[in-house]
Symmetry: C2
Subunit: 209 residues, 2 copies
């Protein structure tokens, strides 16, 4: 894989996200999957459309974003939509994870709100899962979606400095560390985003590589 | 029905709620149901236990409260647990309706948070319902529960001064008024609390009246 936009390189694929944290994770996971295509970020395509995430599922939103960016750039686009699904909140915040507090992208406020909402929920009902849908859309409109899930439970206080979003309160099954305390490579091995992207990697390799 | 605690009256039933809005609604609905028992509030029983609403359903929480108050007072107790179930939030806030923002009983903050969370949700997916479970528990532990539901959708801005909780944003099916704009007697006819209490009224009459 070649990262960036070196002069003379053939652009292979655009990662359709404005979220820098996601851009880093997606790039890192594709690199570890040995997908042999050039990977670019949206920063190389000024004026790319901002897509409203109006879908009611992760897959719908990932496809909305990938379609918009493939159409704008004329290149294959990969997008993810992901979130935290809390059992005691009937699977929410779900697709609203990034705007749960009403303030879009305010990770700290979103996390604090979830902790407050389930503060009375006993240990045995604090189960949760991270879910990611990863979509690949080709310029001709062809689309592929894969989904990755990691089960776990929610800590009562945030811990750890790595990752982003709800990572500081998410304890994967059989882990004593939150995903914000894990080494990034260890996190990718089990994470929702790692699982979804690795499932998509052979499709990317076959269609673009 | 006799309301209050007049000297010489036989106490018949305790309404197990510390919420003054609910006390008024429950009393009004029982009065309209012609249940011929004395109705008292918790104010007549200093030291009555504060019950943690740890149940995962409305019925569980209503029973928790009614059992605690029946045991403390030695009188039949009626409690309700109720909330707003929003389709686009997978049925939440549900049992967390009164503490959705993390601030227990802050109606304005809870309502604002729901509006913010579904601000991008289109008209056709703004369905919601109010649900109420009403529980009667006798001093011997005998219990009865009934449930009432009213379907509707959520307005984009609060309207109306009556009622409480999420009333200012709830539009019952076939109504152009929010439940906070409706006349209280009209609201009781269709409300979740009205339906649950009227279903329980014959049981109250048979066992206590």
């Amino acid at each position: 894989m070649t990262v960036g936009s070196q002069a003379g390189s053939t652009p292979g694929l655009v990662l359709a996200t404005a979220n820098q944290h996601k851009l880093i994770e997606l790039t890192r996971i594709l690199a570890a999957s040995h997908v042999d295509v050039d990977v670019r970020g949206l920063a190389d395509f000024p004026g790319a459309p901002e897509v409203q995430e109006t879908g009611s599922t992760f897959a719908e939103n990932a496809l909305l974003k990938a379609h918009a960016v493939a159409a704008f750039t004329g290149l294959p686009a990969v997008a993810d939509d992901s979130g935290l699904c809390v059992d005691a909140l009937n699977g929410m915040p779900g697709v609203l994870s990034a705007r749960w507090s009403g303030r879009h992208g305010d990770d700290a406020a979103n996390l604090r709100l979830v902790l407050a909402q389930i503060s009375d929920v006993p240990e045995e009902r604090r189960g949760a899962q991270f879910v990611c849908a990863a979509a690949l859309v080709l310029p001709d409109g062809q689309e592929h979606v894969s989904e990755g899930v990691v089960r776990g439970s929610l800590a009562r206080e945030p811990r750890g400095q790595n990752g982003f979003g709800y990572d500081p309160i998410f304890l994967p099954v059989n882990s004593t560390l939150t995903t914000a305390e894990m080494d990034p490579a260890d996190k990718d091995k089990i994470s929702h985003r790692g699982r979804a992207l690795r499932a998509l990697a052979p499709v990317i390799a076959a269609l673009i590589g």
